[in-house]
């Protein structure tokens, strides 16, 4: 590749990524020259400003048509824009959380945290834009490696260390599984570009090896579900969520999970859309039962195990496993509804989960305990904390006039609107939702019905802003979901997702 080719690409497509990369580099340099004792809060501000700038850059890119650079390995399409907004928004809120996170032994490490977070974000954004297995994998690893370090950031906390270690071991295994699956995809098609893979998958010769295609699908799918913490690769989540600092937990449960869904959609839908399964049936139809069983198992395991948890972070780990199960349901529907359903649910999930973690962080750090008892009598002590928390929990439980309800309603529409409505999957989802009422409303009961001798919880300004923003969003999206849906339909065209770009750059050059 010569310089001319390199310059011929529209690098402006990567503007948001460049901003994040630049800020992350800048932060690491500043951190190096800062005195050990001085507060790292300015770094948080800088990181936040960088993310805001990247968000603005994405909003400026909204009108740009589908473009791809670097030989169609890096795409700017509606799909990537829509999900990058979620990733950036989620990380922005996590930054506020982390800048207010107080723990004695974390102070010295603070600086690292911000640029690791940005690096992880960069990885996630790359995943959203990649159209090549190689770049996808690089993005995935960038996200994973940064997350492993972040989980172990509290160096003197045994739990945190344990959490990082478990995360890295199980993450490594999942990566191996993913790569194993990808090697099959490459072996069958001889390509790493997703669209070329899709093209070659339709090849008649492959019909004889349809068993291998199904195998490749199952392995890749299983490996990729690690990030979203779906069964059977969910075991890491409770331990990691429990040990990691709260802002990291919030990041893992929201941003990292969103990235997991992004890569799942990219790889699975594009690669296998035209692929034949056994007996020439389209593979996506054939593996439906497999995906459905995974989704059902995830919902059941997450919700039922959450019932027994006394540790609030573990409970939310299982809750987020269950939520992943709900979001897997749209994968069963083969209509284009899948994108908006997943996007909307993840948007709602972002607000409700980060909001809940904001409250959890405030309470656990004040009380020095992770027991569910920290919520005791919260309504009496700090009504302005209890009321937003109630909204978040109602939304997580899918109660109307919250964003979570609209999200769940959409997922139901997806599951029941098929040629063959999936009644049993919808029933499993509804039944497990009912189970979730028990532990979600238990928190509410503890907040409202129990009396406590605890003290008022002080809420720093930044946290109050996050709380207000998340609570307002949960309610507004619950009452006027069209605000988000119209934005989605107005700016994003899901057909772009499938559009292969003819690379008019000199392909003969290499």
């Amino acid at each position: 590749m010569d310089l001319d080719t390199l310059l011929s690409f529209r690098w402006s497509v990567m503007l948001p990524e460049f901003i994040i990369l630049g800020v992350a580099t800048l932060l690491s340099v500043i951190d190096l020259f800062m005195k050990k004792e001085s507060s790292r809060k300015p770094l948080a501000w800088l990181a936040g400003a960088g993310i805001l700038a990247a968000l603005i850059a994405i909003f400026m890119q909204l009108d740009i048509e589908v473009t791809s650079i670097l030989y169609d390995t890096y795409r700017l399409d509606s799909f990537s824009k829509a999900f990058k907004i979620l990733l950036l928004l989620g990380t922005l809120l996590v930054i506020v959380l982390s800048s207010n996170y107080k723990k004695e032994d974390l102070e010295e490490n603070r600086g690292e945290f911000y640029y690791l977070l940005l690096a992880a974000l960069l990885g996630a954004m790359m995943m959203a834009s990649s159209a090549d297995l190689i770049t996808l994998f690089v993005g995935l690893e960038l996200l994973s490696l940064s997350s492993y370090v972040m989980a172990g950031l509290e160096r003197r906390n045994k739990r945190s260390n344990e959490s990082a270690f478990k995360y890295i071991v199980s993450g490594g295994i999942a990566t191996a599984i993913t790569l194993f699956g990808m090697s099959y995809i490459f072996g069958l098609t001889g390509e790493t570009n997703l669209f070329k893979i899709a093209e070659n998958m339709g090849n008649l010769e492959l019909l004889e090896h349809s068993f291998l295609i199904v195998f490749a699908f199952i392995i890749t799918f299983a490996g990729l579900t690690f990030k979203i913490a779906a069964a059977p690769l969910h075991m890491w989540a409770p331990d990691v969520y429990e040990g990691a600092p709260v802002p990291v937990t919030a990041f893992l449960s929201v941003v990292s999970k969103t990235a997991g869904f992004v890569i799942l959609l990219r790889v699975i839908i594009i690669c296998f859309i035209a692929a034949p399964g056994i007996d020439k049936e389209p593979i996506l139809l054939q593996v439906q039962p497999y995906v459905m069983v995974l989704a059902a198992a995830t919902m059941i395991i997450g919700n039922v195990t959450a019932l027994r948890q006394r540790n609030i972070k573990r409970m939310f780990a299982y809750s987020s496993i269950a939520q992943a199960g709900y979001i897997l349901v749209p994968f069963v529907s083969n209509s284009s509804l899948i994108f908006e359903l997943i996007w909307f649910y993840l948007l709602a999930y972002l607000f409700m989960n980060i909001g809940a973690f904001t409250v959890i962080q405030l309470l656990t750090s004040q009380e020095g305990s992770n027991d569910i008892g920290v919520f005791r009598g919260l309504f009496r002590r700090s009504p302005w904390l209890a009321v937003p928390m109630t909204f978040f929990i109602l939304s997580l439980a899918g109660i109307p006039i919250t964003a979570g309800f609209i999200g769940k309603f959409g997922i139901f529409m997806g599951a029941l609107g098929l040629e063959q409505p999936q009644y049993w999957l919808a029933s499993v989802m509804m039944a497990t939702t009912l189970v979730s009422y028990v532990y979600y409303f238990n928190i509410i009961a503890i907040m409202f019905f129990r009396d406590s001798d605890g003290t008022k919880v002080s809420i720093p300004g930044g946290m109050a802003a996050v709380l207000a923003f998340c609570a307002a969003s949960v309610l507004i999206l619950g009452v006027m979901p069209d605000l988000a849906l119209d934005f989605f339909y107005g700016n994003f065209d899901v057909n772009e997702f499938f559009m292969q770009i003819e690379t008019e750059v000199h392909t003969h050059d290499h």
Partner: protein, 505 residues
């Protein structure tokens, strides 16, 4: 003004919430006054709505409609959009129930003088509950109905769990889970219908499902699908009504919840179950409903007798009334199962009448509890001596409950049985046993309290002037309907006629 009237009515309880937010939470007296005034505003709006409502007019009135949520699906054969509308409107049936809701709410707010703590949050939740109840009856599509249906759930959970008696939390959970099951089934059925027909509007759905089978097959709607939907709906509303054996949650709620909330719950919320059965069951799937009529009648009979038997054996007045509610809801089912005009009218009359009677009786039990610190029958006796007015109202309420002619209970029971005798005489004949049992358990409980040897009460004084308002108003309404049922039946006729038309009666 008229075009927004219903929305204003639905949102009117929120005015009270707004005022309360700016009231200091320790100021008990003003909060309670705001609580009462806040329910008067919806009542006033409901009366304005009633005056704008054309009693003899058919179909939907005061309807409002605008697009709310839109999902678009890109498919190979073109884009399909699934718009969800905000649709409200009233017909005779829902108008009556809205009126009932606002009236009972005012009286329950007055009865809330007995609430001892956290008045501010109590009334905020109370208003949200009222909004949910009005919304349920005013909604004209499944989505909106479901939303309001769920909105009633959450305030109830808090109201039971925070302000109830000893085992309040258990009762709150029981309420939440049972009703959760109901709404889960409801949601699946609603979404399934929406995805098949592309509409959520009641009238459009009723029209679509009434199309000949040949046209329905194009939409992939089979007879089995319709039957499945009807069974799902019946099941969902059977939890709410409640139909035995799904009634245990309701007994717990009636025993544990604070008296004003029980007034609302027994008076209005249970009626949502009956309303759902009429509007969705008989209204959307008349043919299938007809084929299930015998089973519905049978369950009605079981409810009637089972509830009455259990009411006979209870030692706690609250439990007597709770089981009496189970028994009386059986009459709703019996009336519906009759599939004719008399039966239908009886069922709807029973909904309204029982709403008033049970609100009155639960109010009186609340008073009793306040006087004696108990609701056990054995703790009371000879109340008539010290509290003559109370005893008189209790006796009158009891007589209304057992269906004394001249009171609202009589009309409904009479009509329901009249209808059933026409179509299923055997069931009806067995059912009359229930009427006798009703007389026995009501008189047993009421007489045990009012007469007999006088028992010492810690705080025996007759109904205070605040307590007289709800008691007398409810009693007057019960008598009014009993003496002049034409007022009610005129309101209901157009709605009932259109449902009967669907049933082919």
């Amino acid at each position: 003004m008229n075009t927004w009237l219903l929305s204003i009515l639905i949102l009117s309880p929120l005015l009270g919430v707004l005022v309360l937010l700016f009231t200091p939470s320790q100021d008990e007296k003003s909060i309670k006054w705001i609580g009462i005034l806040g329910t008067l505003f919806p009542l006033g709006t409901a009366l304005v709505t009633l005056s704008a409502f054309n009693k003899s007019g058919e179909g939907l009135q005061l309807a409002e409609k605008f697009q709310w949520v839109s999902y678009e699906v890109f498919q190979s054969n073109g884009d399909v959009s699934y718009p969800i509308f905000y649709e409200v409107g009233v017909n005779g049936l829902s108008m009556v129930l809205i009126l009932l809701t606002t009236v009972v709410s005012v009286l329950a707010a007055i009865a809330s003088y007995s609430i001892k703590k956290d008045w501010k949050s109590y009334f905020i939740l109370f208003f949200l509950l009222e909004m949910g109840m009005i919304g349920v009856f005013a909604s004209q599509n499944l989505f909106l109905f479901f939303i309001f249906f769920e909105i009633t759930l959450i305030p109830m959970f808090f109201l039971i769990g925070r302000w109830g008696y000893l085992e309040k939390e258990k009762a709150a959970y029981s309420f939440l889970i049972y009703n959760g099951v109901g709404s889960a089934i409801l949601l699946i059925a609603f979404v399934a219908m929406f995805m098949k027909t592309g509409t959520m509007n009641f009238e459009q759905l009723a029209y679509t499902f009434s199309l000949p089978q040949s046209e329905l097959s194009d939409m992939n709607i089979t007879k089995d699908f319709k039957m499945g939907m009807l069974i799902a709906l019946l099941l969902a509303f059977a939890v709410k009504l409640p139909v035995a054996p799904l009634h245990s949650w309701m007994v717990k709620v009636h025993v544990q919840a604070p008296p004003p909330i029980v007034m609302l719950h027994s008076g209005i919320l249970l009626k949502i179950g009956a309303y759902g059965l009429i509007v969705f069951g008989a209204g959307l799937f008349p043919d299938q409903f007809e084929s299930l009529a015998f089973i519905i009648g049978l369950f009605g009979l079981i409810n009637l007798l089972y509830g009455a038997f259990l009411a006979l054996t209870q030692r706690d007045m609250k439990r007597v009334l709770a089981y009496s509610s189970v028994s009386h809801m059986g009459i709703v089912l019996i009336g519906l199962a009759a599939l004719n005009e008399a039966g239908m009218t009886g069922a709807v009359f029973q909904v309204v009448s029982h709403g008033l009677i049970s609100a009155l009786l639960f109010f009186l039990v609340g008073v009793l509890y306040e006087r004696g610190g108990s609701s056990q029958l054995k703790d009371f006796g000879g109340v008539a001596k010290r509290m003559p007015i109370f005893a008189g109202v209790l006796l009158a309420g009891g007589l209304a409950s057992l269906g004394l002619p001249g009171m609202s209970g009589f009309i409904s029971e009479f009509m329901a049985f009249l209808g059933l005798f026409e179509t299923m005489p055997v069931l009806a004949a067995i059912g009359t046993l229930g009427l006798i049992l009703t007389a026995v358990y009501v008189l047993r409980a009421v007489l045990a309290i009012t007469f007999g040897t006088e028992k010492e009460l810690s705080n025996a004084h007759d109904l205070s002037s605040t307590e007289r308002i709800p008691a007398f108003i409810l009693l007057a309404a019960i008598l009014f309907i009993g003496i002049y049922p034409a007022w009610l039946s005129d309101m209901l006729r157009p709605t009932l006629d259109s449902i009967l038309l669907g049933l082919g009666g």
